[in-house]
Subunit: 191 residues, 2 copies
């Protein structure tokens, strides 16, 4: 170690997480992060491959955290109750960690970011398993997973960005959306 202030990747990412959750994803700059850590921006290059490297690491961190939350929710029930628990956990995570949630949403083309693509798939797999376990036909599963992801992601984004006019009754809207999704999935089941 040298003039080290005890900084490591973990401490840096923790600081970055605070910035993006409190002030939004665009507020993360090398300058703001270095300032929060009381170092100078170039020093960050000793730990990460520039701003992009930090963003990438945050995406992985976010995907991992979200996976843990969803997996925990998925372990608490069966069938439709489990699906419902996953939906609510999804929204809660996004509201508790808006910056981290935003970090996860970066296009991971198969070429680059293999690690991120895998981490993102881990999340999808929680939903996929839960849906498959309800007994829908195997060839329908992929479509239902996509429908669920689309609805949850869309609702979350609109809510976080203030896209809904009245803050009132957003809770109810979400409950209704989840009902609609789960009813739809139930109806796919061949009985």
């Amino acid at each position: 170690m040298a003039r080290g202030k005890g900084l490591d990747r973990e401490a840096i990412l923790a600081a970055a997480e605070i910035i993006i959750d409190r002030h939004g994803w665009p507020a993360l700059t090398l300058a703001s992060l270095a300032s929060a850590l009381q170092i100078k921006s170039p020093s960050l290059y000793a730990h990460f491959d520039g701003l992009e490297g930090i963003r990438e690491a945050l995406a992985l961190r976010g995907a991992s955290a979200m996976h843990a939350v969803l997996a925990a929710a998925a372990s608490e029930g069966k069938g439709e109750a489990r699906l419902r628990a996953i939906c609510y956990a999804y929204r809660r995570f996004a509201k508790n960690h808006p910056g981290l949630y935003a970090a996860i949403q970066r296009g991971s083309s198969p070429e680059e970011g293999t690690a991120l693509a895998l981490a993102q798939y881990e999340i999808v797999r929680v939903v996929l398993s839960a849906i498959a376990a309800t007994g829908v036909a195997e060839r329908d599963t992929i479509h239902l997973v996509r429908a669920m992801r689309a609805a949850l992601h869309g609702f979350t984004v609109l809510e976080l960005e203030g896209g809904f006019g009245l803050p009132r009754s957003v809770e109810t809207s979400f409950e209704r959306l989840v009902d609609l999704l789960i009813d739809g999935i139930s109806r796919e089941r061949p009985v």
Copy 2:
């Protein structure tokens, strides 16, 4: 006019639209736009209030274009067919104008961007009218509109950002999502 090259706000926005649709929203900089127009970046300040002014104008332009497309789709049918037409028109617009679609999605807090907030509401109102016209209870309308927006927006964003693993079968997934939504809305109707 002075050394004018015939540039006006319309020509500038048209050029900006091409940039964001072809190379993505982040590719729009004063430098790239000025270069495309064969002028120097500071000259753009004669027409718009900086980069933010251009982004704002693009958002309005996008909202207006999207409203026209959705309104046209809404005028072609009745009841559930109309809803279905709106859904498909929504996705088609986003795929045809990815940059413009992204431009519309900026948080319009009631304080600023009143014009944009109104333009965005015009879009929502197309969906709202169509849902209301199917005969659902008035107090359910807002929740169904939000469900529809969330699902459409979420699907669109995930698709545009390559969030779905296989490009294959995405069409089918969308059809299924629309079915799920419309079935859900039908079932809300008190008969």
